[in-house]
C-alpha cells in the first residue's frame, strides 16, 4: 500500500515536470523573432551584410534625405538583444525595409 502511494506520488511529480517542460516549450515558440533596426556604416544601397550595420540605442530616425545611400535596415536577431554600437549578432538575418538617406553613423 505504502509502495503504491510512493509510486503514484513520484508519477504525479514526473507528470508535473512534463507539464513544466511543455509550458517552457510553448512559451519559447513565441519569442524567437526579434526585429530590430540597424544603421548602415557604409551607405551602400545593396549592402545586406550585418557586419556593415550598427545598433544605435535611443535613436528614432536621424537619416538626412539622400536617395543614393542606404541609411538603415531591419534585422531579425532572434532571441538576442541589440547591443549599442555593435553589429547584429551572428546568425541574424537581413529583413529589408531599408530606409534611404545619409546618417552620422556612416563612415
Amino acid at each position: 500500500m505504502a509502495i503504491k502511494k510512493t509510486v503514484s506520488q513520484i508519477a504525479l511529480g514526473l507528470a508535473v515536470v512534463g507539464l513544466g517542460a511543455t509550458a517552457s516549450a510553448f512559451t519559447n515558440t513565441e519569442v524567437q523573432s526579434n526585429i530590430v533596426r540597424y544603421y548602415s556604416t557604409t551607405g551602400n544601397l545593396t549592402d545586406t551584410d550585418p557586419a556593415n550595420f550598427i545598433y544605435v540605442d535611443g535613436t528614432s530616425d536621424d537619416c538626412t534625405p539622400d536617395m543614393s545611400k542606404q541609411c538603415s535596415a531591419l534585422f531579425d536577431i532572434g532571441e538576442n538583444s541589440p547591443e549599442p554600437n555593435e553589429a547584429p549578432p551572428a546568425g541574424s538575418s537581413y529583413q529589408g525595409s531599408a530606409l534611404t538617406g545619409d546618417s552620422p553613423h556612416q563612415q
Binding site: Q9, I10, G13, V16, G20, A23, S24, E79, N80
Partner: protein, 154 residues
C-alpha cells in the same frame, strides 16, 4: 474557556490535510523549477552571457549558467521522491531566498537591472517578480512548518 479551546481545535488541520498541502506546495515548486530550468538550458548561451554582465559574479558565468538550472532540476527530483521531500523543500525555499535576495539587491542598488530568470517570469515587472518569489518563500516555509509538525511525512 473550554468553548474557546474547542473552537481552536476545529482549526487544526488533520494529518492527511497537512500531507496534501505539503505535496501540493512541493508540486508547485517542481513545476516552477522544471519550467525555468528547461527554459534556461534551452537558452544556455544567452543565460550565461547575461550572467557575465552581473557585477562580482560575472567571472563565474559558465559555472552559474550550468549550475542554476541543474540545481533546479536536482531540487525538483528531491521534491518528487517522498523520502527526500523535506530536504527538497529546504533547498527549494533556500534557492528561492537567494533569487529573492538578488532581486532585492537589484531593486535597491542597480541602475541597469538584469533578470535572467527564464520564460514568462522574465517578462514580469520587478515588484511583481519580488512578490511572486516572496509568496513561494512563504509557501515553502509553511510546508516545512507543517512537515515538522506532522508525524505522517509524505
Amino acid at each position: 474557556m473550554e468553548k474557546q479551546l474547542q473552537q481552536g481545535k476545529s482549526f487544526k488541520l488533520s494529518v492527511n490535510t497537512k500531507a496534501y498541502i505539503i505535496f501540493i506546495i512541493s508540486l508547485l515548486f517542481v513545476f516552477i523549477f522544471s519550467y525555468t530550468a528547461i527554459d534556461k538550458l534551452h537558452h544556455l548561451e544567452k543565460f550565461s552571457r547575461g550572467i557575465s554582465k552581473i557585477p562580482y559574479v560575472g567571472g563565474m558565468h559558465v559555472w552559474i549558467g550550468w549550475g542554476v538550472p541543474l540545481a533546479e532540476l536536482l531540487i525538483s527530483a528531491l521534491l518528487i521522491i517522498p523520502r527526500c521531500n523535506r530536504l527538497g523543500l529546504q533547498l527549494a525555499t533556500g534557492l528561492m531566498g537567494i533569487f529573492t535576495l538578488y532581486l532585492g539587491l537589484m531593486l535597491a542598488f542597480a541602475e541597469k537591472r538584469l533578470c535572467h530568470c527564464g520564460g514568462v517570469i522574465e517578462s514580469m515587472q520587478w515588484e511583481e517578480h519580488l512578490l511572486f518569489n516572496l509568496i513561494f518563500i512563504l509557501l515553502g516555509g509553511w510546508a516545512l512548518y507543517l512537515n515538522k509538525n506532522t508525524k505522517h511525512k509524505i
